[in-house]
């Protein structure tokens, strides 16, 4: 088991290394030289050359990549080109906000999705099953910003229950934070629940066709016990995978929701800096996003293996 985890982790590190090459190469081929992007219309050949020297742009890309990677390993992502602040220092509060919202949404969405999925499997073909299917299909089909605007219109403007502006600051106490980010959280929950719920339902129902379930039915067990005790544990592997995918989305894919609710997360920071050619910041964000994705996938893999005795004890 331990060997497996170590193996997966080292594979993950390799993937991360590959991602770092892609990220570095991506920022390298961006149109426009970094120095000219900073100087914009005040660029003259002389100060352009001086700026290139200051940034070390005249050295070969491979050398700069190795230096950058060396810094990253030591936890030094360099300094932002736009305001010269330390990248990590500037990222940290944003990263905290992003993780807070993701965890907040996940804590509600994951149990909810699994519960709704199991109920749909138990009452397969019933009114509940059909209506929850239609409802979740709807929330997943409309663009997320549209859902966000609907929530603002009805919950924030008409009912006035929750604020439309999630303007948290580092000093905001936890209680206020939960209140302020309620609508963005709900928005994200509505987006991710459908996917997880439908997969839970489908995997459970696939198991329900197996002979041992027939046996359970013949024994006269109640349906809910069959589903929860016999079918669900065997349907866990795909469910864990889809949960991991959605958790990754909650961290790396929420820039639009951040924008709609003016939430200071990592997504808006990255978009802002891409437009300003702030390469160290973009690289750091890219690496964090890649790392999140890889880590969650490793966890999903390990979780899926652990849920399956046959994989847990390979012959």
């Amino acid at each position: 088991m331990l060997r497996l985890i170590v193996q997966r982790l080292s594979l993950g590190l390799l993937t991360l290394l590959a991602a770092s090459v892609l990220i570095f190469a991506g920022t390298e081929v961006l149109p426009g030289d970094l120095a000219s992007a900073i100087l914009t219309n005040s660029a003259t050949p002389e100060n352009l050359a001086a700026m290139r020297k200051e940034l070390g742009l005249e050295r070969p890309a491979a050398q700069r990549y190795v230096e950058w990677l060396g810094g990253v390993v030591r936890g030094d992502f360099g300094h932002s080109l736009t305001n010269k602040r330390d990248v990590i220092e500037e990222l940290a509060p944003r990263l905290k906000n992003t993780f807070f919202l993701a965890i907040y949404a996940a804590l509600i969405a994951v149990p909810l999705a699994v519960l709704l999925g199991l109920l749909a499997a138990i009452w397969q073909g019933g009114v509940y099953d059909r209506s929850i299917n239609v409802f979740t299909l709807m929330t997943i089909s409309v663009p997320e910003y549209f859902l966000g605007y609907l929530l603002i219109k009805y919950v924030a403007v008409e009912l006035g229950w929750f604020p439309s502006l999630a303007n948290v600051s580092p000093e905001t106490p936890l209680g206020d934070r939960i209140f302020l980010t309620f609508l963005p959280m709900l928005n994200l929950v509505l987006v991710v629940v459908a996917h997880m719920m439908r997969l839970t339902r489908a995997s459970v129902l696939a198991i329900m066709a197996s002979p041992y379930i027939e046996m359970a039915i013949l024994k006269g067990l109640p349906k809910w016990r069959i589903v929860v005790q016999h079918a669900f544990p065997n349907a866990l592997a795909p469910v864990i995978n889809v949960i991991a995918l959605n958790l990754a989305y909650l961290i790396v894919g929420v820039v639009i929701v951040e924008n709609v609710f003016t939430y200071p997360g990592l997504g808006t920071l990255m978009v802002d800096r891409v437009s300003k050619h702030d390469v160290p910041m973009v690289q750091a964000c890219g690496l964090i996003f890649a790392g999140t994705f890889i880590l969650l996938n490793i966890i999903a893999d390990v979780g899926a293996i652990m849920s399956n005795p046959r994989l847990r004890h390979p012959r």
Binding site: S80, L165, N167, N259, V260, F261, T262, D272, R273
Partner: protein
């Protein structure tokens, strides 16, 4: 807002007199007694009140913002600057220079040498007294090798000299009677000599900076020691950066902020229905423009230019772009509200026959007219280009609309393609606007307008201190541009702010939205 409420707002803002108000009220069928009561109410609302936290929701902020004035380019830093700092000169409510940290000023004949007397006894937030060294340091931040947005206009200054502790002399390369307008620029705010710690800015303003999270928020506290009478009413100011138009509107509607700006004209009708919200509308100098290179065929032919100017339906453009919240343009970059606006130029309207007449007169029926359009210029630019294409087609003029990518538009298309969609933000003084875009050697001359006579008129107008003569010169320049210039200016846009009705003292200003950026020191909250 009902009409009566409108007039109450007008009198509250001092735009109409008491007698006028009674007259209007009577015309609306309101009895004298009631009108008097209303008048008292309006008067009461006019009385600034102390205290409270003013919450502003502002667009135009970025995570890269700093409080260094040389880096400022957009609304959030502009408002933050005016909230904690002062300039030498304020662009006053009626677009006239008003004394701020400069108490008075005087130009020597020819307007190339100026003496500014500085206000005594004003203290910075750190306790230091403001003097000539501070002023010189603060102005010099924007001169010479600097990336400051004010560097262009400041180039005209050849020397700034200290006369004594409270007097400075500014020398210009050539006369400019509008120097006070130059100095009212939002970049040119006063900080102590040698000040560099922009994370904790020190100014003389009505508020001190409490927290600054770039692209997210800024918080200010009242400066109890503020020197200016009748300004700085609230205890605290909170600025939330809201770049998304809908999010800004929602924040106002749900009461999370008290004031927003850049209201989407398309939704303003809805906003007006809300009983607790008010719209503040100011005619401004912002205009969209279709610049043609006057030295490049076919636009070098004046008849082609006239044909193109008659082929656009300006009223419709105003409707499509700004839902009517603006004024039609007349190919004259000076806005109607400017004291030097030439009011005698005939308005050019859409006239397919005239357009066809000039087009045929030019004798270039095979002229290839390509309009490079992008929404990077302004929202709706491509729609406008398509609309223009349709109206021009009716005059037999074939315009090819070439859609340009938004990324790199200002680098690759502006000043490079001969006929494009673009905009100008307007300038406080007419001579500034004419100088920045229509002087032969101006780097941003986007119509390649190179006329010696025009340059001479501009130089004369700048050096002239006599109002009557200046007006003559400036009117003549506008006439030349209107009749012959390469700038097709379809419409001017209004500044559109909105606030909750508990906000007082938020008045419209021609210069820029949010009371020309000075809303924090001018507005108050009604108890």
């Amino acid at each position: 807002m009902t009409e009566l409420e409108y007039w109450m707002q007008q009198i509250a803002q001092g735009r109409i007199g008491r007698r006028d108000f009674m007259g209007r009220a009577a015309a609306l069928g309101v009895g004298t007694a009631l009108a008097s009561t209303l008048l008292a109410q309006a008067g009461k609302a006019d009385e600034p009140q102390k205290g409270g936290t003013l919450k502003l929701g502002i667009a135009g902020g970025s995570t890269t913002d700093t409080m260094d004035p040389t880096t400022w380019t957009d609304s959030v830093t502009l408002v933050c600057g005016f909230t904690c700092m002062n300039g030498l000169i304020e662009n006053g409510p009626d677009n006239k220079p008003v004394a701020e940290l400069a108490e008075s000023w005087e130009a020597k004949p020819g307007a190339a040498e100026w003496v500014f007397k500085l206000r005594k006894g004003v203290q910075f937030h750190n306790g230091k007294e403001f003097d000539a060294d501070d002023a010189i340091y603060s102005l010099n931040l924007h001169r010479g090798e600097t990336k400051s947005g004010a560097a262009g206009p400041m180039k005209a200054i050849t020397d700034i000299k200290k006369l004594d502790a409270n007097q400075i002399q500014i020398t210009l390369a050539s006369g400019d009677a509008d120097l006070p307008y130059v100095l009212s620029d939002y970049h040119l705010l006063m900080v102590p000599k040698d000040f560099k710690d922009w994370a904790k800015p020190v100014g003389t303003g009505a508020y001190t900076l409490d927290a600054f999270d770039p692209g997210v928020r800024a918080a200010f506290k009242r400066n109890a020691n503020y020197w200016k009478q009748g300004r700085g009413h609230v205890d605290a100011v909170e600025i939330t950066v809201i770049n998304d138009t809908n999010a800004r509107m929602n924040a106002l509607v749900t009461g999370q902020v008290d004031v927003i700006h850049r209201v989407d004209p398309k939704t303003i009708a809805l906003l007006k229905k809300a009983p607790n919200l008010e719209v503040v509308r100011a005619p401004g100098g912002w205009h969209c423009i279709l610049p043609m290179f006057t030295d490049t065929a076919p636009y070098s032919n004046p008849d082609i230019r006239l044909a193109l100017k008659h082929a656009i339906d300006r009223e419709k453009v105003l409707q499509v772009l700004f839902s009517g919240y603006g004024t039609v343009g007349n190919d004259n970059p000076i806005p109607r509200g400017d004291p030097y606006f030439n009011s005698e130029l005939p308005q050019t309207h859409y006239d397919a026959d005239k357009a066809k007449f000039y087009f045929d007169k030019a004798g270039m029926s095979d002229a290839r007219i390509v309009l490079s359009a992008s929404d990077a210029a302004f929202g709706g630019a491509v729609d406008m280009a398509t609309l223009y294409q349709a109206t021009a087609a009716k005059a037999g003029i074939n315009i090819i609309v070439k859609r340009e990518p938004a990324d790199g538009f200002w680098d690759n298309v502006w000043l490079k393609a001969p006929f494009i969609t673009s905009y100008w933000g307007g300038r406080p003084a007419a001579t500034q606007m004419l100088g920045v875009a229509y002087k032969s050697d101006a780097p941003w001359n986007d119509t390649h307008w190179k006329q010696e006579g025009f340059d001479k008129l501009l130089a004369d107008a700048r050096a002239e201190l006599d109002e009557g003569k200046r007006k003559g010169y400036i009117w003549e320049m506008q006439k030349q541009l209107h009749e012959n210039g390469g700038a097709l200016i379809p419409a001017f846009r209004d500044w559109l702010d909105a606030h909750s009705n508990k906000v007082g003292g938020h008045t419209p200003h021609n210069g820029f939205d949010l009371d020309n950026g000075r809303i924090a020191e001018k507005a108050w909250l009604k108890a």
